[in-house]
Symmetry: C2
Subunit: 219 residues, 2 copies
């Protein structure tokens, strides 16, 4: 199994380390909508995304959700192996937003490598730093931006990921991403529609004026 | 300089590594209110808190602030040395909430040690994981808890840190901690006072019914 493209430090690893990683890697497929990882007790392992799209999110006791970040092709999910690292006191859930093929490195194998290699530990550090940055971005979005800007930014990001101006997405799903009730999303989308920013139909949102949306998001 | 109490992995370091750390360490004092670290360009280094109290926070373009976490005696600030770790794309500011004595390990020295030692890299990982947990806690507070619960939790935490039921703190400062305008804080504190949870006077907030506050915060 070719793992070199996932690990920028591949060339700095020893032959033995590479062999251990390759021998332990397992391929799995998850259908759209399925949950890959749902709690702190589980320790799925390091999840490498070969293709598809995963969503990392957190959930309130009442089932309210907010998206933390997305994992696309060639991304690595660290927190599905959170048992590896002491000091992680939170739960990240993971679900497939598209049919996805992933490669899993078992947590115990990776942990052992990390404990013995400064290169692998350093790489893990960078991985965590980059997810930390995503979450800090979210904190800033929540704290500083009002909902109209957050919704505009979300629609543009979705449109970018899907490479389409028409998004097949319900108001409820948007609300789950942004941590707002469906009613608030619906109200704001109607306002956007009135302003000519989007067009709404059952189950889709079409970006009719991406430039104006961008201006709103960046304002 | 005795650094062993800051580094739980001290016994696992080589003599050479310990010598480098000790030789590079510099003691500094910061008066209450002073800013230790204020941006991404700076790379102050690893800050070890000998005594006092530091506040890590983020700030909006308009100067709105929100507290990310506090650093008390024996805590280590990683993000004042964020240049050490690739992938960190956010800015954490740091100010002294009390007169504080800190020990600084220069970033370039620590980075070199980290690149060559799986033990130090692993320790750095745990440090980041624990700050990440603090920030995730904050995200959950913001997303799931309404402001009354957040304010109650904040007052109890402050009272705990200060070891006093009377807090010398302005509504504006509370607002900066929680990311809300002063007016919102004032309104909610007045509501708390009406309910008999706190007593207000110029520049102080006294917790008159901590049990009821706790119940509100945990509800």
């Amino acid at each position: 199994m070719d793992l070199s493209s996932f690990f920028p430090v591949w060339n700095k690893l020893s032959d033995a380390e590479r062999t251990v990683l390759e021998a332990s890697a397992v391929k799995r497929t998850f259908l759209k909508g399925s949950v890959l990882h749902s709690g702190s007790d589980e320790c799925t392992g390091l999840i490498l995304v070969n293709s598809g799209q995963l969503r990392a999110y957190t959930s309130s006791p009442e089932g309210k959700e907010v998206t933390l970040y997305r994992l696309l092709d060639m991304d690595i999910c660290l927190f599905s192996a959170s048992c590896m690292i002491r000091g992680i006191g939170f739960i990240v859930m993971l679900s497939a937003e598209k049919d996805s093929e992933v490669t899993i490195i078992p947590a115990d194998i990776y942990k052992k490598l990390m404990q013995n290699s400064a290169v692998i530990a350093g790489f893990t550090n960078e991985l965590m730093a980059s997810r930390f940055s995503d979450v800090m971005w979210l904190v800033e979005q929540i704290m500083w931006k009002s909902f109209d800007k957050r919704l505009a930014a979300f629609l543009l990001e979705e449109s970018n990921i899907e490479d389409s101006l028409t998004l097949r997405i319900t108001h409820e799903v948007i609300g789950n991403h942004l941590g707002n009730p469906r009613e608030v999303v619906t109200r704001m989308l109607k306002y956007f529609a009135d302003e000519g920013l989007v067009a709404l139909s059952r189950g889709t949102v079409t970006l009719t004026d991406p430039d104006k949306l961008r201006k709103l998001a960046e304002d």
